[in-house]
């Protein structure tokens, strides 16, 4: 599997080159949120704001009212938990063009419950005027900026940093409000988001070989959640629908899909993979994904239960899957 490093850091500098209205606000986490290069490239457009997150969000609202486009970078957790009232009243209510770029979503950090943004989508999804996006691979990390550029209102980007896998064809850019079809199948419909998509792709490749065909869509827009392809896919499977997210099952992707299915009267079983209404603690990503059932094996187990069959898939089977950048209409064999 190929990866790319510090994608956002480089992309932001290039992308903002001819956009003098773009300002970056940092809350003492400049290297940690990949905006050090931006600071070096455009020192006049970089604002060091210290650990004043509530102030920063309101300040960003003020900048946006005067025509600037502030990009507030910090850890996701410190945006929505610490400054929710400010997001709601200084930014979302007046529908201002502010970008909230939150890093270390879910269990991506060993920093424990204080650093793990495990309920950000649930909370921010409840705010009117918010748009919420979540890249799932290195190309989407870069493409997300273009995908939201035209939104004249607040956007929360659940962003990935550091070494990020390349999973999708870079010639098929992320599109706002459009799920990305990764595999066609008729037994189970699977919706995955963020880092869970990589895990899901490992599992679906093996499941397919064992005769379970899966219709897999990667979701990068949590709000607005209006893609007709999602409802269409949810209504099709023989057995049921599975969602898989690096977030609590309360209010995130699982809830988004559940709402769409219920409102349309889709009578299919829904299984939500994600944090089961719990906090996590400080530990490694693989450990936490295993412990909380967010990894490829967790999906295999849920799929087995859904089709009522033991498939004898081993950890080695899953790890041996070679993930390559996927064209959306790639045949299963191409894996």
């Amino acid at each position: 599997m190929k990866t790319m490093s510090r994608v956002h850091a480089k992309k932001l500098v290039e992308w903002a080159k001819d956009k003098p209205e773009v300002l970056v606000l940092s809350a003492d986490l400049t290297s940690n949120t990949e905006v050090k290069l931006f600071r070096e490239a455009y020192p006049d457009r970089f604002l060091s704001m210290g650990m004043t997150e509530q102030n920063i969000v309101s300040f960003a609202g003020g900048l946006a009212r005067e025509g600037f486009v502030p990009f507030f970078h910090t850890f996701a957790i410190f945006i929505y938990r610490r400054a929710l009232d400010q997001i709601s009243m200084s930014v979302a209510y007046p529908n201002l063009k502010v970008r909230l770029v939150g890093f270390l979503p879910g269990i991506m950090t060993p920093g424990g419950a204080t650093h793990q943004a495990t309920d950000d989508i649930a909370i921010l999804r409840a705010l009117p005027n918010m748009t919420i996006v979540e890249p799932g691979d290195a190309n989407e990390v870069a493409q997300v900026l273009d995908s939201i550029e035209d939104i004249d209102g607040p956007v929360y980007i659940r962003q990935l940093r550091g070494e990020v896998p390349i999973l999708f064809d870079e010639n098929e850019p992320m599109r706002l409000g459009r799920a990305r079809p990764l595999r066609e199948g008729s037994d189970i419909t699977l919706f995955s988001s963020g880092i869970c998509t990589e895990e899901a792709m490992r599992a679906t490749a093996v499941l397919q070989k064992r005769g379970v065909s899966i219709n897999h869509l990667h979701v990068s827009t949590h709000k607005p959640f209006t893609d007709p392809a999602i409802l269409a896919a949810a209504g099709q499977p023989k057995y049921g629908v599975i969602t898989m997210e690096n977030h609590t099952i309360v209010g995130g992707l699982g809830s988004e899909v559940a709402e769409v299915m219920a409102e349309a009267g889709v009578g299919k079983k829904l299984v939500r993979i994600g944090l089961q209404d719990t906090y996590a603690h400080g530990a490694s990503r693989p450990y936490l994904m295993r412990t909380h059932g967010l990894d490829a094996m967790a999906l295999v187990q849920k799929a087995e239960k859904m089709v009522g069959e033991k498939l004898n898939i081993s950890e080695e089977d899953l790890q041996s899957v070679r993930l390559q950048a996927m064209h959306s209409d790639a045949k299963a064999e191409a894996l």
């Binding site: 704001m49 004043t52 309101s58 960003a60 502030p70 939104i151």
Partner: protein
Amino acid sequence: MKHTILILQPRNSVTIQGEKMSNNNWLTEAKNVAQGIRRQVLAHTIKNNGGYLSQACSSSEIWASLYTRILNISASEAPMIPAPFPGVPSAANKNYFTGQAYNGRKSPDLDRFFLSPVQYALVLYATLVEVGRMSPEGLAQFNTDGSTVEMIGAEHSPGHEITAGSLGQALSQVAGIAFARRKKGENGRNWVFMSDGEFQIGQTWEALEILSFYKLNNVAVIVDVNGQQADGAMKDVLNIEPLDERLKAFGAHVIKVDGNNIEEIVAASEVIPDGKPLVILAYTSPYCGIDLLQSRFPTLHYVRFKSEEERAQYTELLTELEAAL
């Protein structure tokens, strides 16, 4: 409309909006405006059996100073009778407006005004009436369904530009606006009316750190230090004094004035500190001009009459104020 019975005309026959009065009469006029604000809010409180009367008592001189002398703003560009609520802001709502146009046009060299504790909205509306920026019929819409003349003002309310009802957020928003305006080369000052209670809030101090760090001397804050909050006297609820020393320690240029003295307020407003935000601490009396209120101390946040007898006392006072015009 519900409240059409008792509409007070503004006392000032001359339209004083949009120009600073340069003749020697300005102080007299400003004092009249201050008294007019008190009278409007008192009449409103009697009519509705409740209102933010103490806030008018403490801050009338601040408002009169701002709107007759301090703010360098143009004539109102908003309708004298406020338009109805246009619906909340959204991508789909193209009709949303803010109440900023009551403070004139936006221009690089002109000042902007922001009310932070929008529980003072009634006092701001009364001020707009007294200085000829809104008609008395606008004030009569206060807290009626479908009106923008809301009890706790929001950005669509006359004279308001931002949504500040969750206290302590306005100063940060104005810091952002002031930073942006300076970056665009604009010279206008950015005035914020604050309450002393907001200095209990952490975000206020975060904002001061930023104002100081970025040397935003285009921000000027005027604080109604009336020593009062919803639960009572601030010194008993949560003391914030010595406020001047605390503010100085955070890098502000602080001037203490008698907040019921227009000349002192105006003199302080003319200071533009070198690389520091200006904070004018206007020490006021929460019952200035209406001594009757003193008996209700320290519960002054929202005045609701306890009996018809009490209401009659205030009505009598209103009659006296009217007669003194």
